[in-house]
Symmetry: C2
Subunit: 296 residues, 2 copies
């Protein structure tokens, strides 16, 4: 392989990395050109204007992961069913230009008659496994829609989606609780956050515990700033409580530094050890996939 | 007692009933003049213009329940702590005009260091107990913020608030799920609703199960109309699952006919028997309270 253009094209952002054959990142570019900002039929043009120069060197390959492979993206890449290995993904790439430009398929899993899906996270997961040298792992990718993932023998066995980040934002901005919370997100109050996690762990459910943000404010038991962190603890704690965590087990926490810190703190409540992997997991995943392909 | 003007003054609406000494309702008036629509200092004027004519007959008494007794209302009526009886409420009325015009206090309860509150529901509860002739009961008042209540020996022992209606509305209108649901609320699809209740009962939690509305739509497994009912079942089922219901027990379901029907159907999944009481419970509660007061 010559150089690789690794692209993470999501709903709200477009990021690309220019990588050497041995996996070094030479350059990174970010654009506020998520698939929802690109008109249907405009993906090729956007791609050319953002990364055309990188693609000019002969033998350059480009792999893209994320929502770019969805119904609303450049072209739909059918989901790869779980259990799925890295090889399964590589053999089911959707080639837009054979050997040169491809979209990584997402994953799907079915439980109790209900499907679940991911697009983009599969690449981060395999990148993280590679970076950490793990064959078996439990991972969480926190975010608007958190993913909990089980990997065994380098296969994604199953996963589930949790609307944690989105529900936090809805309660924070659009519910009655918004009236008692500061408009700007304050810095994390780690004690209030821990109390929220604990309240979720011992509580009867978020539909009930969330209301305590209102009553604690009504009775002036906590400041508005502390209540924002407390609510974050309630919602993340609700997600963790449902995972039936065992003290002593290890979980790989991915994503932004902010969320890594919150999840690691919350997971420690259950006695769970954490390893963290940042946003470079996507570049590593795409690079490893490019390496596994036949040479051009 | 001569006649009673019974008033239910909430956040978004104002309703009043003119009642005879023996509890017959002579007339009912409704206004879109909830406390959030009345400027601070404007409550007396609003009251006079809506009900002044009813108050003219000598000896007429007026009792008001609901958010009118909150910090944002006419005057703040301190919460009455649980356990609380009907008599406790009557002796802690906040008189605006002694013997003539009073606000019924709300209730508060504290569990694990966290307070919970109600305003207005206490009157409905005692009205329902009166109507049904019950001394002990478990009640649910479904709505934006549902209340689950335990009554023993005609005392409210404790209660809890569930943000069920509000979370449904948030998911329905403001979340990613809104894209796959019809804008207008379709008629209830009882089968889809039942499936939602069942999925909640067996599921790992609403943060996860709610995402299935998206995936079931993505895989075209259910129509948009059916998914609205399914989501309603998921959210109500989540509330019910947390109540540790026992097959064979009896629950009093209050509120609007629509919600009574949904809750009764959902509760039957747990083998729970239901009795229903409509909106007249408030008038009965206020009337019984007026009767218990010394004559003017």
């Amino acid at each position: 392989m010559r150089q690789l253009v690794a692209i993470d094209w999501g709903t709200s952002s477009l990021r690309g990395a220019l990588m050497t054959p041995d996996g070094a990142v030479l350059d990174v570019r970010s654009f506020a050109l998520g698939i929802l900002s690109v008109p249907q039929g405009g993906f090729e043009e956007t791609f050319q204007s953002c990364f055309g120069d990188w693609m000019q060197q002969p033998g350059t390959r480009c792999l893209m992961s994320g929502m770019i492979g969805s119904q609303q993206g450049w072209r739909e890449a059918p989901y790869c069913p779980c259990p799925a290995s890295f090889r399964d993904l590589a053999t089911q790439l959707l080639w837009l230009e054979p050997g040169r430009l491809a979209i990584v398929p997402g994953l799907t899993v079915e439980q109790a008659g209900v499907p679940d899906v991911m697009r983009g996270e599969e690449t981060q997961i395999f990148g993280a496994l590679q970076l950490l040298g793990l064959h078996d792992a439990r991972l969480v990718l926190p975010g608007t829609h958190s993913k909990w993932v089980r990997v065994q023998g380098q296969q994604v066995l199953d996963f589930s989606t949790w609307m944690t980040g989105e529900v936090y934002a809805l309660l924070r901005q659009h519910s009655i609780l918004a009236r008692t919370l500061p408009v700007e997100e304050p810095p994390l109050d780690a004690y209030a956050f821990a109390d929220g996690v604990q309240a979720a762990r011992q509580g009867a459910g978020l539909l009930h515990t969330a209301f305590s943000v209102r009553t604690l404010s009504l009775f002036k038991r906590r400041s508005a700033d502390a209540l924002a962190s407390y609510l974050s603890g309630l919602v993340i704690g609700e997600e963790l409580k449902a995972q039936r965590l065992q003290a002593g087990e290890s979980v790989v926490v991915m994503g932004s530094a902010t969320l890594q810190a919150r999840y690691s703190q919350a997971l420690s409540t259950w006695g769970v050890r954490t390893q963290t992997v940042g946003d470079t997991a996507t570049w590593h995943g795409l690079h490893a996939m490019a390496l596994s392909l036949p040479a051009l």
